[in-house]
Symmetry: D2
Subunit: 284 residues, 4 copies
């Protein structure tokens, strides 16, 4: 089993207009025989240097129309070229370069890095099995300053947490969904639509929001909305790493603090992860 | 000499609409006597816990209309309250929360973290001296995919770099400027204007860009444009940490690569720093 | 599914001598019903704050005789106290404080942090299932400056890597092994013995070393040696994240470089992972 | 003004025994004229690529007998080779590889990374000025579990910190000292001696320790001991970044906690920095 990571930039021109994709590709291969591992016989081993060359050549020849198509291309290449490959998985992640605008006018060759959620995808195949496609977003940091609480939880002698009906809900989201075996979707368009669903389900209506009784319920709402709106998604996994904020007690300092000044609590650091599919749900 | 860092969130409501500022404040104090250091006599020492309390109380009482005003408030408090303080410097940095929009509609209480350049400021004062105000932006990553070269440089027997007239210019910008002693500016408005100047000077006109003969010249252009457009700025320091990209040589792989596939070069990592003032320049 | 992380320090005195353990505990719980997730009913949810309290109370009451025993104690507590818990996993990781020595004399209460490999363990249990214990070491960085090569690998038109019979072998090791259901071992003593096995298998005899034909073979040697020397280990997983070093070509600079000056190659970054058990091996 | 960073490994053999130094070199140059910056004229600019080549060639030709000697060699090369260089500073930092031992026997070519304090140095020169040499240690994490307190500090209405006479003293040390213009010291031997002084001054006698009334006083003790024991040191700067530990209040949980269970407090993060010279002290 070996994997490696390749980072590169693919530049593409349409007339004088430039398009840029900077990606990090991680390729995992499993060979049909572990003889290099057991016997020190390297004759089937594909060096990481060769893998790097293949990824760069595919980027040059095919371009990167979407992360997903590029991941599929890499999988296909390894499966059709190397009979000693039993399994291949490719992970592709994007550096979030966005076109620069000056007074609303797009610049033809300048870009700014805007990391408000990182797009990634995976393609995976076992020899004689189907090629599966996944996509996702990670490092998406969101906050609601009201319409969130946590009440009615289990209590015993170790409970010190008070019930709260108006707290800050803040966290870093990781979402990953499966497109199954289908490969000819408009992956760029669907990804944008799913990102909008995630934001909407997290925040609720712009004029009033929607009450969240727990991080878990918010995770569920995100999954339900994506599955109901985007028919191409088969299964969706969501992980929400929470940051807690404590209202500072200012009584000793002679002041009342009506949820105006809060400090982030580094530890304990909570996390909530769920996977939801179309017919049955798995909570893992 | 002591410093400490406090991170907190200040929430403010206008009717049902929420406004949020999450900041990291770093306060540096120097006392008139180092007796705790030389003799172990702590009677003049202001504990970091007390400094934290003061910062939180000021946030509660004054709010954070701008980072700069808040930094000024903290400086003033320490100078007027503690006669044993000989010098105070406060650094305030913002967590880049932006209001979430759904189909263009702003949400009343939901926010997304968009770290495309971090705003910060400093206020600094010696007892009996003026209060000086600085502001800046850091971690701003920009890229131009053409209109950049590096030619005509000094050569000797250790030179292996070829001349290039069409390379990628990519880097992370740090800019810090001084407002001098003036304190009643519209700091939020000026900061946005300076950010636009930086982007414009880096990128050039949207339809054609502007040729950069070196990182150094681009740094100079940024400084010149800010000084010419924003009269409140006295001095501006710019540091550009460069990321180099090499065009992959694909001759061995039977392909030509016309600046289509490039890999970032981690080392050597270059940096270019300059400080430019109104009358005379300092290159340090 | 929820997890959280708690970091704390447990201090213990024997006369005037102090003993310190600083650990990071991560607890994962799965409940018998996901009603908080589906229906927003929190009545079974154990807040992260309560989990933190339990971990701190157990540390106070039981102390931390070994990381493994502490992880077992936490698992047992959750399984016996909360009937709504279907599954519990605890991960415990150590901050590597070592007693300070002055001229060879151990200090009674002073410590230095020496991160040359981080010790960790896991305990895991499903309701009605056995409690399984794992231990490991991570972030262990090792280098061999000779007795390593990579030859006879698969070649095709994308191969550019030359064969090498005398290269640098350098990487960061992650090893995790299973003790099965057994719980009354001397975990501290066994851990030290396994660490020594890993170093010996990586390096070979002190006077001459042992030739490594590939990273994969070195991973296998580590696993084989641990399994042959330490009977308590059931299965061992090893991941070796490689750092490659290139001999700098100095021909252009008029010098020969006989593997004297090398630069680390950041990308592609290789990794090799294998799991080896007693009867059959799994290569995943 | 430009700087850049080069990371490389220098391997040296004495018979079959291998010696390894992996270093990170950062070179800062200032030129006599900023014409590339003002006019886009690059004719005096020394590209970072050339600087990298020079550093690698010097490592190949001279080896790295000590970090300090290597930094001096680089400075000298730039000053004597390039008349357009007005100022040069070189920073050299070591990757802490230590020879591996098996049952106390040193291995001839295997190494382990042990980052218990990172050694670094600087050499600096202005044209027509003296070459100054500095050395230091950073990222050195130390802890005392008793013999530390903080009492008698300044109090006012914002004070909430209780006085403590038995707390944990824990922090990360940065020390940097000057050797002045002298260059023919045994830098390796002196560095080890200073490291021992730092540990001794922090911890006190092994059998009883020494009471620290404040972080500041501990910083002063370190400086005083180094200056009194090591005559080659002219000035010493020490920065101590503190980690605070709070005794967990377990009253709500029905337990007393006699400084047995403590949690680290992430914020506020304190720091104490002082510079001490031979004749007069500077507190900056």
């Amino acid at each position: 089993y070996g994997k490696n990571t390749i980072k590169f930039l693919r530049l593409h021109k349409d007339g004088k207009k430039h398009f840029v994709k900077e990606v990090e590709v991680c390729a995992h291969l499993r060979l049909t025989s572990p003889q290099e591992y057991l016997e020190g016989n390297n004759s089937l081993v594909i060096p990481t240097d060769t893998i790097k060359n293949i990824v760069l050549v595919l980027a040059k020849k095919n371009g990167i129309s979407s992360l997903e198509q590029f991941a599929i291309d890499i999988c296909n290449h390894f499966m059709t070229t190397f009979c000693q490959v039993a399994y291949v998985k490719t992970y592709v992640q994007e550096v979030p370069w966005q076109r620069l605008h000056e007074d609303g006018v797009p610049h033809i060759h300048s870009f700014i890095c805007v990391p408000d959620g990182i797009r990634f995808c995976e393609a995976e195949q076992c020899r004689n099995g189907p090629l599966m496609v996944f996509a996702g977003i990670k490092d998406l940091k969101l906050m609601k300053t009201t319409q969130s609480g946590f009440e009615g939880f289990y209590k015993n002698e170790h409970t010190t947490l008070p019930e709260r009906h108006d707290r800050i809900l803040c966290g870093e989201l990781f979402c990953k969904w499966s497109y199954g075996e289908c490969k000819d979707f408009d992956f760029n368009c669907i990804w944008k639509k799913i990102r909008e669903c995630i934001l909407e389900a997290f925040a609720g209506p712009p004029d009033c929001g929607e009450y969240s009784p727990s991080y878990q319920k918010t995770v569920n709402r995100i999954q339900m909305l994506v599955l109901s709106r985007v028919s191409q998604v088969q299964v969706i996994e969501v992980v929400l790493n929470n940051t807690f904020y404590n209202v500072v007690d200012m009584k000793n300092l002679g002041l009342t603090n009506d949820k105006e000044v809060l400090v982030p609590v580094e530890a304990p650091y909570g996390s909530c992860a769920c996977t939801l599919g179309r017919k049955k749900f798995f909570e893992a």
